[in-house]
């Protein structure tokens, strides 16, 4: 009977040897893990391409080509009456200064012994169009210098600058009426003599936007001031209102349908597209309240409404992180509910609130779309405001809007400016986020 039981055929398998099914499962496992790695690598690759792009394309904006020239301020052209009266000198427009520049350039060419077929009038084309204005400003500030020969450093025109930076080549200027190969020969010769060179360009950081024809003179300074005033408005309004709203919702609000509506509302507002806030700003602040167009105050108000949800959400999280024992202890020694919150809970939550506020501000600083609708675009303000009131109410641009303005202009020289502007913007954002991270690391308490 016993032999009726068939011995099972012995399978040749070993734990040390993988069978086919295990192999496919292990292969699937490896593939799956590889997908994850590829995904992360893709994300990091994109980040590095982006950063590489920003740095390589933007760095050029911080270098600018300058031409050193000695200009003779001819009294016969600038002050025909010879009485050094400022009003008379002012009557000479920048047009009247151009001959001085061409004379100076021609003298330089002859002095250095450079051979060129160019007429003096054509030579001036390598200078920026802002050069004449630069001399005029100097003369108006120092009328007693008329008749002397003064050394100036002029910006080169954007094509010459692009030629030195490799953006413009002899092949690419075939149809360009702003520059000719002969002018580039002159540039080469001047460069060899050392009176034309690239150097650090401070006016990109401090200056204001320039017209379409003068990309070389455009700067970020004024729009930085505009952004600064907007951030001031956002900080002054969004921080107190956001903290007050969070305190109410977290500490005092009864659980009922009104509170529910407010909460759902806030989380939805956080996800409303920013451009909708721009429409709101246009309709309510400008059309209805008649606040001035393009003013940093209006921009600040719009961004306040936009960042409020962010600040409320992070403030509530940090209020929630304060343990109830603190509140109970305060109530136990006779404090009122209000005192327990303002004297004990709020100071303990302050680092978290500050972190959230800085992150909210950083978000607001980089926002562009709503600013376009309320008219905060480039080339509005040319001088820095002289008081806080004018800073808030006079038209200005903001950093991201200025970058957008440059990105829209067709001249590639403006792209370089836009990338350069992005570097400044990102420096601000990185600084703000670093401060937020440091605050969080140093002051965050785990209970």
């Amino acid at each position: 009977m016993t032999d009726a039981i068939q011995k099972p055929e012995k399978k040749k398998s070993s734990l040390l040897q993988l069978d086919a099914r295990t192999r496919t499962r292990n292969a699937a496992e490896k593939r799956f893990k590889a997908y994850g790695m590829i995904a992360i690598a893709f994300g990091l690759l994109m980040l590095s391409i982006l950063v590489f792009n920003i740095v390589t394309r933007g760095a050029g904006a911080y270098q600018q080509t300058f031409i050193a020239l000695e200009v003779e301020l001819l009294a016969g052209k600038l002050d025909k009456k010879g009485n050094r009266d400022l009003d008379d000198i002012k009557k000479v427009s920048t047009f009247g200064y151009t001959p001085l520049l061409s004379n100076a350039l021609e003298a330089k060419v002859i002095e250095l012994g450079i051979e060129t077929d160019l007429k003096a009038k054509k030579m001036v084309g390598i200078l920026s169009k802002s050069a004449a204005a630069q001399v005029r400003d100097y003369v108006l500030n120092n009328p007693n210098k008329i008749g002397e020969t003064i050394g100036f450093e002029f910006l080169a025109s954007s094509r010459v600058d692009g030629y030195l930076k490799g953006r413009v080549s002899r092949d690419s200027i075939g149809n360009d009426k702003n520059i000719s190969p002969a002018q580039l020969d002159l540039v080469d010769a001047l460069k060899a003599e050392g009176c034309l060179a690239k150097r650090f360009n401070m006016s990109f950081i401090t200056g204001s936007d320039a017209s379409d024809a003068r990309p070389e003179a455009a700067g970020m300074g004024t729009s930085m001031i505009g952004s600064f005033f907007m951030m001031l408005v956002v900080l002054v309004l969004a921080l107190p209102i956001g903290v007050a709203a969070s305190i109410y919702l977290e500490e005092f609000a009864p659980k009922n349908w009104i509170t529910d509506i407010i909460e759902v509302n806030i989380s939805n507002l956080a996800a409303v597209p920013s451009i909708v806030f721009g429409i709101l700003g246009l309709a309510v602040f400008i059309n209805y309240m008649h606040l001035p167009n393009s003013a940093p105050l209006v921009g600040g108000l719009v961004l306040t409404l936009m960042t409020l949800p962010t600040i409320i959400i992070s403030t509530r999280a940090s209020l929630k992180a304060v343990p109830p024992s603190i509140r109970d202890a305060a109530l136990g020694v006779g404090a009122s509910k209000m005192q327990s919150v303002f004297h004990h809970v709020l100071p303990l939550a302050a680092p978290g609130i500050l972190t959230g506020t800085i992150i909210g501000l950083a978000q607001a600083l980089g926002e562009t779309a709503p600013l376009l609708l309320i008219g905060m675009v480039g080339f509005i303000a040319s001088n820095p405001p002289d008081s806080i009131a004018t800073g808030l109410l006079s038209p200005n641009s903001a950093m991201p809007a200025q970058i957008y303005e440059w990105a829209k202009r067709a001249d590639p020289a403006f792209y370089e400016r836009a990338w350069g502007g992005i570097i400044i913007l990102l420096v601000f954002l990185v600084t703000m986020n670093t401060i937020a991270v440091i605050l969080r690391r140093r002051f965050e308490r785990r209970w």
């Binding site: 994850g36 995904a39 391409i49 709203a245 597209p273 451009i275 709101l280 409020l308 957008y404």
Partner: protein, 493 residues
């Protein structure tokens, strides 16, 4: 200094005065013994400051918002028809009136003319346009006598309103001041009153969120209604083409824009969802603490970069790179001529996808981490490999949350502006070719509302209808997504 700022300063001084007087009075009525007071002296002071300043400032704020509207309504009815010329509208005339009136105020404040002199101005004798230009107020055309009359009327009414404002707010502050200082006695429960006041302020701050939403909805709703009065709603919702024409008679249909928006968003999601999801899976299930500490913050940098940077990236880097691959005929990498310009659906979609990667990955990361460890342990204990555990246990458990995250990402993509403004192009059309330029709802809002806008033409007002549609669309997605995420979280907490 203007009347309003003087009034505000006066109220604030009175409030400070009230603070000190009331706390002094509270101590002195208690015979100098603080223990006999119900509350700390600070509270008596704060109570006085609160009752002096807050009602007065509140009324002032409402007054400032309401007065221009009422004055304008009164003045609007007095504008003679003669002023409304061809190509102009009552709104434009009104803004001219306002400019003349404000300019005259500036003339007075700079001391060019006295108040009485400006009231006696005559268009025959003085060139008012030049006068106003002298103080920096530019008026579009010469000031007609009728215009001046209306402007003077406007000024008179504004002056009257300001007078009444001072006459009604100053007593309010004084009454509050007197009552609260007199009330500072030991038996008065100052702390309770002050705390009720603070609570009211907190409630006010919290309801600002609701107020914002109401403002958003109403501002867009009113202008949208104006738009639908000028333009048939059937064309807006069901028409087939978008061709704004500033001489009127434009085709303004949302459908081609909606198609562009959805197409770009779908491409963005095709990039962002797999990459973001796999990155989240790897970070939460496979990566060690060191890789996680290094890769997660780096990925999140992508989320902190402003969208204008992505826009420029699309326009200057990604677009030309795609043209090099798909365009330029023989010179291109593929030798085809499918793409002519840098702006295309694919350009904007790819870049938007990159922007959304960290958004999807950090949301999914949270959701995957919320799946209880016991589920994983059970699966691994039965002999499943980690990837089988993830695919068959963790992901199904996390699915509702991930769907919510994808919906939130979709709502982001639909509302994104700068990337599409710079990267997608401006041509509204129905096309399935991702290498063509198309346009989106947000792009058209920007282009219809920047530059000179005339709020009486359908070409401008259509932006509000587009905005309202966009708002409803994203709100719907958000509500569904938040509902799913919330419901799912309740399961495991």
């Amino acid at each position: 200094m203007s009347t309003t700022s003087l009034l505000v300063i006066a109220i604030l001084i009175l409030a400070t005065l009230g603070y000190f007087l009331a706390s002094k009075r509270a101590i002195s009525t208690a015979g100098g013994d603080r223990r006999k007071l119900h509350s700390l002296p600070v509270y008596y002071g704060s109570n006085a400051a609160m009752f002096t300043a807050i009602p007065a400032l509140g009324v002032l704020l409402i007054w400032l918002l309401a007065q221009p509207m009422l004055v304008e309504r009164n003045v609007l009815s007095t504008i003679p028809d003669k002023l409304i010329t061809e190509g102009s509208s009552i709104g434009l005339v009104m803004s001219d009136v306002r400019r003349v009136a404000d300019g005259l105020e500036v003339v007075v404040s700079t001391g060019t003319l006295s108040q009485n002199e400006t009231l006696k101005l005559d268009t025959e004798q003085t060139d008012i346009r030049a006068l106003l230009a002298g103080v920096g107020a530019a008026v579009g055309s010469d000031v007609l006598p009728e215009m001046l009359e209306v402007a003077q009327n406007y000024r008179a009414q504004t002056k009257m309103g300001q007078l009444w404002m001072v006459l009604s707010i100053a007593p309010l502050a004084l009454i509050g001041f007197a009552l609260s200082v007199l009330a500072a006695k030991p038996t008065f429960r100052a702390r309770n009153t002050v705390e009720r006041g603070i609570l009211a302020l907190l409630v006010l701050a919290a309801s600002l969120a609701i107020l914002t939403t109401i403002c958003i909805v109403f501002s867009m709703l009113f202008e949208s209604i104006n738009f639908f009065k000028l333009h048939p709603w059937t064309d807006f919702f069901f028409g087939g083409s978008w061709a704004p024409n500033f001489r009127g008679d434009s085709d303004l249909s949302i459908l081609p824009l909606l198609w562009g928006t959805i197409y770009i968003s779908i491409i963005a999601l095709i990039v962002a969802v797999p990459v973001g999801l796999f990155a989240a899976i790897y970070l939460s299930e496979y990566a060690g603490p060191r890789v996680r500490a290094f890769a997660k913050p780096l990925l999140e940098i992508l989320a902190g970069i402003p969208t204008i940077v992505y826009g420029l990236f699309a326009l200057v880097t990604v677009g030309p790179a795609l043209v090099r691959v798909f365009g330029r005929g023989e010179e291109g990498l593929l030798g085809v001529e499918w793409m002519s310009g840098a702006t295309a659906v694919l350009t904007a979609g790819l870049v938007m996808g990159i922007m959304l990667i960290p958004f999807v990955s950090s949301l999914s990361d949270d959701i995957i981490n919320a799946v209880p460890q016991s589920l994983r342990d059970g699966s691994l204990g039965l002999g499943a490999t980690p990837s089988e555990t993830i695919r068959q246990v963790v992901l199904p458990a996390a699915l509702p949350g991930i769907v919510g995250a994808v919906l939130l990402a979709a709502s982001r993509a639909i509302g994104e502006t700068m990337i599409v403004v710079l990267g997608a192009g401006a041509i509204a059309k129905f096309s399935a070719n991702p290498l063509e330029a198309m346009t989106t709802i947000t792009t058209r809002i920007v282009s219809q509302l920047t530059g000179d806008t005339d709020f009486a033409s359908p070409e401008t007002l259509v932006a509000f209808a587009l905005g309202l549609t966009l708002f409803v669309l994203t709100l719907g997605l958000n509500v569904i997504a938040l509902y799913i995420v919330r419901k799912y979280r309740e399961q495991y907490d």
